[in-house]
């Protein structure tokens, strides 16, 4: 199920902007609150896994390794903290440093996972739609470039083949490869520029630049988009105030210390929990709805 993908790009963008902003906001020595980090990480993982199920399991292991590495490196190089666990050639390894490392690792990994989901959902045409609302012209250039990239790769291959077919291209040794490469590249440039001009002709022929462009898109802004947008913004505001007010402050150095739990902090936690699990909720809701409909039939 990919229910969340079908929301309006602006909605999706706002959601990710808020969740990632918070995630990174907490990525600093003062507000690195374990609970927040936990929520962020679990939310990120759930969102990613719900979307991709079992595909790309290997990558998870890679990031697990990265997590451990980040966690362990900190105590090795960073020796402040009071509770000493052990001493490696008269450098103290402290509990605080270890925990801090773990926490920051969690923070980084979660941000990475948020971005992984984001890159998957926010496909180029959605990004275009967003930009199209700010600057149609910039969006147009972006769109043109996105069309050119696969075209040029294809053409580069063709040129190499053609030159080889004439016996003009060889990649036996390094120098000849460089020579061949530059040759091909310069052909590509000529070709790209000349064809570019033809394209520009076809743009002018269809009246580009006569009046101010509008930007057409096949995305609509429906009720549920508004709902999600508003929800994410409100939650974001709540959390931000919570964070700035210092209600969830959490320090590792010199020794672990944190602001004691208050109504504000609890609300902040809940709000953040809701925010991070929003996509997961949407997906499951859709799932259930389908099951229900099936049972009706």
């Amino acid at each position: 199920m990919k229910a969340f993908d079908n929301y309006n790009p602006i909605t999706i963008f706002i959601y990710f902007a808020s969740v990632i902003t918070i995630g990174m906001f907490c990525l600093n020595p003062v507000t690195m609150n374990p609970l927040i980090l936990f929520l962020s990480l679990s939310g990120a993982l759930t969102t990613y896994i719900i979307r991709n199920r079992m595909s790309g399991v290997k990558s998870h292991f890679f990031f697990l390794g990265m997590f451990i590495l980040l966690a362990v490196i900190n105590p090795l190089f960073n020796h402040n903290g009071v509770t000493v666990l052990l001493i490696i050639n008269n450098n103290p390894i402290t509990l605080e440093a270890l925990l801090y490392g773990t926490a920051s690792a969690a923070a980084i990994i979660s941000v990475i996972y948020w971005f992984r989901s984001f890159s998957q959902i926010m496909t180029s045409d959605k990004l275009l739609y967003i930009l199209g609302n700010i600057s149609p012209k910039f969006a147009l250039i972006l769109s043109m470039t996105l069309r050119y990239v696969p075209l040029f790769e294809n053409q580069t291959q063709k040129v190499i083949q053609a030159q080889r077919g004439l016996g003009l291209y060889s990649d036996t040794d390094f120098m000849s490869r460089v020579r061949g490469g530059t040759r091909v590249f310069s052909v590509m440039v000529t070709w790209a520029l000349e064809n570019g001009v033809v394209t520009s002709d076809s743009m002018t022929a269809r009246g580009y630049g006569i009046t101010k462009r509008t930007f057409f898109s096949i995305f609509k802004f429906r009720k549920k988009d508004i709902a999600v947008t508003v929800a994410s913004l409100i939650l974001f505001a709540i959390i931000l105030t919570g964070v700035i007010s210092g209600a969830i402050n959490f320090r590792f150095y010199p020794e672990i210390s944190h602001a004691q739990t208050t109504a504000v902090s609890v609300i902040t936690y809940i709000a953040y929990g809701l925010l991070t699990f929003l996509p997961a909720a949407i997906e499951t809701e859709e799932e259930i709805k389908w099951k229900y409909l099936k049972s009706k039939i």
């Binding site: 394209t199 009246g207 898109s217």
Partner: protein, 545 residues
């Protein structure tokens, strides 16, 4: 009602003394379907561009173009952009954006139209051209035919009343081409859209066009109602070669009858004027003495990547020394791929390819290309490296080696500044210059006029007689029928039928020459005009006269 009027139009490109267009005057009525024909480099594309204000190339231009009685120069940008649509030769280059739906909307976006208007018009066009099922695809995934159709559609959303097309079908296979043309004539009938089109393959286009414009070296030769023009050109050798088969056959008998244009009229013409006692020419029995195979595919499988489907599926054929072997087949059937495998540019994952009896993978680096095998790619622009034609030729041509034809008048032009056909010839020159034993040509005749085609045919035949082997992929059945020793039909990655042209084409119903389609009811195995004429002469004396 007169919609377009041209008054002694003259144009010359910068740094070129001779004029590309010289004092041309003519006028087009609403709902006309005008076909512009003429030899390669005669200025068709240039003329087409001059008709559309936005596309006029840099250079000296004099004369006037009137649209609905008003000078085009005085019209508002918006008016000209909307009311005159333009589709050019290469489908690839005209596409601007990365998604089909965005491309369709592009023109309307430029006009600053509101969302809902755009949505309505786009959806309408999508239905009319039947492109719903690839509406949300990205253009990189489309086939050549689809791309060209997209170009047409994205021009039509602007609701023009004149449509100008410059060799729109040059890259398409015969079936796709005739589909495209019938779409055009449908538009012309439904919306009484005025169409002005340049073409080299007149077989399909003449029957649907009501006006014909013949030009030669930048000047207007004849313009008028199709039949009139055709009749007027009857004794002009250059143009006759480009004409539909019916006309060519007819014009080689001097009968005082109305000239047939379509295949149907051609049949009637044969029906009426010839009795068909002799139904077969005694074919010169194809020299059957076994020659040695120089190129040999045995059970070759190829795919571009693991997850993609096979492109070559157990391909299996032999090409013998000194023959011209033509491969025909639809867009995307794998012809180019086959050639690149034959040239050792791509490796099959199973099966073997032998060149001159030696396994292709046993050749050392580039040994294969030193006077052994040489490939003319489909996209000829990929072989140009230098800034002038002269340098291009010097780059490869050894001093003693002489070209079979002459390009010297183009010497100091940039390879991109010469006409499509001329580029084709230049590229061929580069390929020939390495004096290979096996010559692989990927659509060498696209964008060439009939005359230049004949030139190339003659050249190839000469080379073949000197023992060079030619493997030629082409969409041009007429060319294949005329010049090939053997033809092969390519379908979904394998060769489904193969044989000497007369029998090969006689076997097909659609994928065959117009002559064959026209004569098949009366005579057996007639595929070329010359054969048709020969056999009809035999049937004559008992006939009409």
């Amino acid at each position: 009602m007169e919609i377009l009027k041209i008054e002694n139009l003259t144009f010359s490109y910068p740094l070129c003394e001779e004029k590309a267009i010289e004092s041309i005057s003519f006028s087009v009525d609403r709902g006309d379907f005008v076909t512009v024909c003429g030899p390669t480099g005669c200025g068709k594309s240039t003329l087409m561009r001059l008709l559309k204000k936005e596309l006029i190339p840099l250079g000296e231009m004099s004369g006037k173009v009137y649209y609905k009685g008003r000078d085009v120069q005085t019209l508002s940008e918006k008016e000209t952009a909307c009311s005159i649509g333009f589709v050019a030769q290469r489908p690839e280059e005209q596409i601007v954006t990365d998604k089909v739906w965005h491309e369709l909307a592009f023109g309307l976006e430029n006009m600053g139209m509101p969302q809902d208007v755009i949505r309505r018009r786009v959806s309408e066009m999508t239905c009319y051209f039947g492109i719903e099922d690839w509406f949300e695809k990205s253009v990189a995934e489309l086939s050549g035919g689809q791309k060209q159709l997209l170009n047409l559609a994205s021009v039509m959303v602007m609701q023009p009343d004149i449509l100008i097309l410059d060799e729109p079908t040059a890259q398409l296979d015969p079936i796709a081409a005739s589909d495209f043309i019938s779409t055009l004539s449908k538009l012309n009938r439904d919306l009484s859209l005025t169409v002005i089109i340049t073409e080299h393959r007149l077989e399909e286009i003449i029957p649907v066009s009501n006006k014909l414009f013949a030009m030669e070296s930048g000047k207007m030769l004849k313009y008028g109602e199709t039949r009139e023009t055709v009749k007027a050109l009857r004794n002009n050798a250059v143009f006759m070669q480009g004409m539909p088969a019916a006309v060519r056959i007819f014009s080689s008998f001097d009968l005082s009858l109305p000239c047939p244009l379509t295949a149907r009229e051609g049949r009637e013409f044969i029906e009426k004027n010839f009795d068909n006692r002799v139904s077969e020419l005694e074919t010169p029995l194809s020299n059957t003495e076994k020659k040695d195979a120089v190129l040999e595919f045995s059970d070759v499988y190829f795919k571009y990547s693991k997850e993609m489907p096979d492109v070559l599926r157990g391909l299996d054929f032999k090409v013998y020394k000194g023959e011209i072997f033509c491969i025909l087949g639809g867009n995307g059937s794998g012809k180019s791929t086959c050639l690149s495998v034959a040239a050792g540019l791509r490796r099959q994952y199973s099966g073997t390819v032998r060149v001159l009896g030696k396994k292709i993978k046993d050749y050392k680096k580039n040994e294969l290309y030193r006077g052994c095998i040489s490939l003319l790619p489909q996209d000829v622009q990929t072989v140009f490296l230098k800034n002038t034609v002269k340098e291009e030729l010097e780059d490869v041509v050894s001093k003693d080696h002489t070209l079979p034809y002459d390009l010297s008048e183009l010497n100091d032009r940039h390879p991109y500044d010469i006409s499509g056909g001329q580029q084709q010839l230049l590229a061929l020159a580069k390929v020939l210059s390495s004096a290979p034993q096996i010559l692989l040509l990927d659509e060498p005749t696209k964008g060439l006029d009939a005359y230049a085609k004949k030139e190339i045919g003659v050249i190839l035949q000469k080379l073949a007689q000197t023992g060079l082997t030619v493997v030629c992929v082409t969409h041009d059945v007429e060319f294949a029928a005329e010049w090939a020793d053997r033809c092969a039909m390519f379908f979904r990655g394998e060769i489904t039928s193969c044989g000497i042209p007369s029998e090969f084409f006689a076997g097909n119903n659609f994928y065959t020459t117009a002559v064959n389609r026209m004569t098949s009811n009366y005579y057996k195995n007639i595929t070329t005009v010359s054969d048709a004429v020969k056999i009809m002469r035999l049937n004559m004396n008992g006939g009409a006269e």
